[in-house]
Amino acid sequence: MNKNMRAGFLALGLIFAAAAPAAAETWRESVTGFAAKNLQENFFYAHSRRDYVLAKSLAAADHVTLDDDVLFAAAYLHDMGVASAFEEPKKDHADVGAAKIDIALAKTDFPKTKLEAVRAAIRTHNPDRIPAGAEARYLHDADILDNLGASGWAWALELVDKKGGKPTGAQMAKNFTHTAPLEKGVLTPAGKAELKVRVKEQKAFLDALARESDNFKNL
């Protein structure tokens, strides 16, 4: 290969290398950036990431294939309706989120044909709603389960008021002893198996905490 040919290949390589990243930011990067920027409050971004991982893991355990585009977008955006920038006080946050996902997705390369599936999964992620479709069912169960066990207890503790106001640690502990309504919402086989593990975990944490705080009176 002579010098000119090498320069030609090098130039072509540079053009190709520049072409791919020069295209619009991919929707996953855009959604991740959006969630990292707008959903940090009350630890929703971390919760969203856990929901995504857990939903995939539950589906895999049940040998169910999920559309990863739908699940990723739904998991990362499902609580945007409760963030202060997007909430609407008179509407349920699940409905608000489903209606507002275009803010995060409209100018991206997210497949338009999958938007309604994302909206549906977000709309039914609440424990008392009935999800339809695989992505909706596994997001729904992951979302419930993330409110239980070690992750649920850690999240509850993170929200304790830092200046001694409400919610207090004692209130969070008492709430956490009444999770039966949440537990009833779990629908999938793998979700139900994971539920048993998390309920056992949280009982152990709460029993220990009760011992160490005069039955939550000194929290």
């Binding site: 991982v53 998390r198 005069d214």
Partner: protein, 218 residues
Amino acid sequence: MKNSACASLLLLALMGPSAAAEPWRDKVTAFAAGNLKHPAWGFSHSQRDYALAKSLAAADHVTLDEDVIFAAAYLHDMAAFPQWAEDKKDHADAAAEKIDIVLAGTDFPLAKMEALRAAIRTHMFARDPAGPEARYLHDADALDWLGAIGVARLIALADPKGGKPTAPDMLKRIQDNMKLVPPRVVTPAGKARVTPLVAEEKAFLNALARESDNFKNL
């Protein structure tokens, strides 16, 4: 007349020499409840330290001076709050100096003030306490950094607005305490409680690691 004279005498006898002084326990409790509001080192932490110190001492058949342990438990962290903190002084030393703000004008026994200051000064696990009240307060305070309660206190400090400290920052504090605190516990009853408390923390951290992609999603 006779009855009313007897009643007056009885009242005087009951009031005794400190008739004008405020009951110190009421004042200390009200001060701590009203001013020491914090999820990790507030009023409830003082209540736990008091109860645990007494329980540990009882397990070791050690008698504590109730006045000293009560006042020390309820006031030991007062200088961790901005109103009483001093920039260049550890909060334990600052609190030991400032307890008069709360106890002056009360009927707290003056003869016990130095034992109280000493217990407050050495309450942190890195320090070396002397005397029973100081030793049991020190261990109660150390053990309150461990177990389910240690986890709860520290995670509650994570900033919900996405600032510092983050949840992973607090996780590191929990892990650090699991290493640093146990060797500093000095009493027999305190030492007996370390292993189960650390086991509780390990169980929690193992579960949390499993549920958060090894802490990455916190």
